[in-house]
Amino acid sequence: MEALRTDSKQEIHPMENLLRMDRMPHIWCPTCGIGIAVTAFTAALEKAKIDPNTVSIVSGIGCTGRVAGYVKLDSFHTTHGRPIAFATGIKVASPKTKVVVFSGDGDLIAIGGNHFIHAARRNIDMLVVCVNNFIYAMTGGQVAPTTPLAAYATTSPYGCVEPPFNIPYLADSSGAVYVARWTTLHVRRLTNSLTEALQKKGFAVVEAISPCGMYYSRINRLGDGLDMMRFYHDNVEIRHGEDTKNLDIGFQTKIICGKFVDRERPSYMERYNQWLSDVKTAGRRSGGQRGSRK
């Protein structure tokens, strides 16, 4: 075993400059899709030709919450639900920073749902990668706001009774300028979407549907991660530009993937800087001051 390790050290991992190799092995289970999403992201970072020294990656808590700690950028592993708020602080205080939030569905859409919709409304410059495995996996398989109706989880032992969020629809209607969804089977397409999203000004959301071979597929008797990948292969339909209203995911139903939204809207910093120069040059008065408003 020792000899094997020494040998493998001589080979250089193609993403070594973007990964913290001294933190390997990672904590993710066999057949988990998070690693694939990370690979797609690092590849996208290279394709988009962004200087890694200018990128901050922010994660929350959960399986995907560990991503920041394995990626060799300025990495922030924050509190549960708050990576978007934390990233908002970085972006607004230091606008030259490229900010990426990489976290899970529970972290971003349940406990962090409020920050998600408000960051989209403000159109803060940031890429949000939401890995959706339909379940709280780090804590052992509890029901999530993305768990399909009737799917089992440890806290929905008789099947989930709540309808799930449709993440692209939520992002779209809150104001995101770029919205795409892929599964971790679609590595090339996911990488392309992430590359585009990284170059986009404003709030971009990429949902990456990932198998959870340890909890979601086991409690629902869906086989292992490979079976989940096979399911994606047979049941994903690519429909670019599809109305995000039609993207609900049911239990083992067809999953629609593609790029759904790609539009222009002034980003938060653009508006802020415009407003600031108005305040300074045109002498715009604050509403609280006496005198006529211009």
């Binding site: 924050t78 602080g89 001051q289």
Partner: protein, 413 residues
């Protein structure tokens, strides 16, 4: 380092404590403020929003207090001085991230204009019942610094000091003001920039490959870095080693968390600021902070007219607590009288330090108002007459308490 003249709104003002604190933050070089409207702290946030653009400070009104405090911790790591502003329920919501900030050794300032609690309480009136929350509010072991100004001028001065302490010790600093001081309008003198001392961030300047974000300097405080400097920081709320990498073993955890605690405890003599008057030969010492210390002035005056030797000790820094000084005074004085607008919080720390050498009298107040100075005077008189040592705490029965429910609550048999 002196303040940047561009940041200082030099002049003589007639403003309230909230606004003064906002101007203090800008003078200290604060460049990012995130907040959420909540009575009675809103005026401070409004002041920053109005004046921020003139001094190049960015502000954002977040969707909630959880967002506000997360945003300022993020902004602090991008290299700027940051503050958030809140009251009552908002302060409770921020607790998780206060511990997160302490764990990450992030310098930031939190202005809490205390109001009557619990829950929604009396939003427009005063209270001092968050003072223990500022000490123990977040889960886990950590130490931070809390200041209690008692006038608009002090709101300005101590907001600057709060920023300086935050930078010096790389920790969150709480300004535990209250509605009375926040809404009190008085003369505030903002000096020229060269009269204001500001602490710069302790930034690491060595080679990138040697940087360890959590390697302590001799005073136990590590040098900080910021995102975007090519250092590829790894910053996590998990217990971490000097590189910032997560560790789980109990030996390391005790060492790391011990340092978080000790960097404040061992530096306490440099941090603590007290205002003492006549304590050395006093029979009774009135210990107070914030608005209660201003009300106590009158109470002390009445007691002194009756010939009682009264000293006053004002906790400008409430946390860390001045254990040593308090124990020393307990050996000299007969009793401590502690008026606070709650049913007993800081008084327990006074009792802990007195450990039986002096009696400890609490003058409670339920909030939504301040003490009647006569109560404080009567408590002093009661304390000075008491010959024997009384174990534990004595609670003085105030006029308000007597008029509302004579005899107090009792359980029925």
């Amino acid at each position: 380092m002196k303040a940047n003249p561009k940041d200082v709104l030099t002049g003589i003002y007639y403003i309230d404590g909230d606004v003064a604190s906002g101007y203090g933050a800008l003078a200290a070089g604060c460049k990012f403020v995130a907040g959420y409207p909540i009575t009675p702290s809103t005026e401070a946030f409004e002041a920053v929003c109005r004046r921020g653009p003139q001094v190049g400070a960015v502000f954002i009104q977040m969707e909630d207090e959880l967002g506000s405090i997360s945003a300022i911790v993020g902004a602090a790591w991008s290299g700027v001085k940051t503050m958030t502003i809140t009251s009552g329920p908002g302060y409770s919501l921020m607790q998780e991230c206060i511990g997160f900030g302490a764990m990450l050794e992030t310098p930031f300032v939190l202005l809490n204009i205390q109001r009557g609690g619990p829950s929604t309480g009396v939003p427009t009136k005063t209270g001092q019942a968050d003072i223990m929350q500022s000490r123990w509010g977040s889960h886990g072991d950590y130490e931070l610094i809390a200041l209690a100004p008692d006038s608009p001028q002090e709101m300005f001065d101590y907001t600057i000091k709060a920023f300086n302490l935050a930078e010096k010790y790389r920790c969150p600093v709480m300004i535990m003001s209250d509605e009375c001081v926040g809404h009190m309008t008085e003369k505030v003198v903002i000096p020229e920039a060269d009269g204001i001392e500001v602490e710069p961030r302790r930034l690491y300047t060595g080679p990138a490959e040697d940087y360890l974000p959590f390697k302590p300097e001799p005073d136990l405080v590590p040098k900080m870095a910021k995102a975007g400097d090519g250092l590829r920081l790894y910053i996590t709320g998990l217990v971490h080693d000097e590189r910032g990498y997560p560790v789980e073993d109990s030996a390391y955890k005790s060492k790391y968390v011990r340092r978080l605690v000790d960097k404040i405890r061992l530096n306490r003599n440099n941090i603590i600021e007290l205002r003492e008057e006549g304590t050395d030969d006093a029979d009774v010492i009135v210990v107070s902070y914030g608005i209660s210390s201003r009300v106590a002035v009158k109470g002390v005056e009445i007691a002194r007219e009756k010939g009682i030797k009264v000293g006053t000790l004002r906790l400008v820094t409430v946390w860390p607590f001045p254990d040593d000084r308090m124990s020393e005074l307990a050996k000299k004085a007969r009793a401590f009288v502690v008026p606070e607008i709650n049913y007993g919080q800081v008084v327990y720390d006074v009792a802990r330090c007195a450990h039986g050498d002096a009696n400890v009298v609490l003058v409670p107040h339920g909030g939504a108002g301040v003490h009647n100075p006569n109560d404080i005077a009567d408590a002093i008189e009661m304390a000075v007459r008491e010959e024997k040592k009384i174990e534990g705490l004595v609670e003085f029965k105030t006029r308000l308490q007597k008029s509302v429910f004579e005899g107090g609550f009792k359980l029925k048999e």
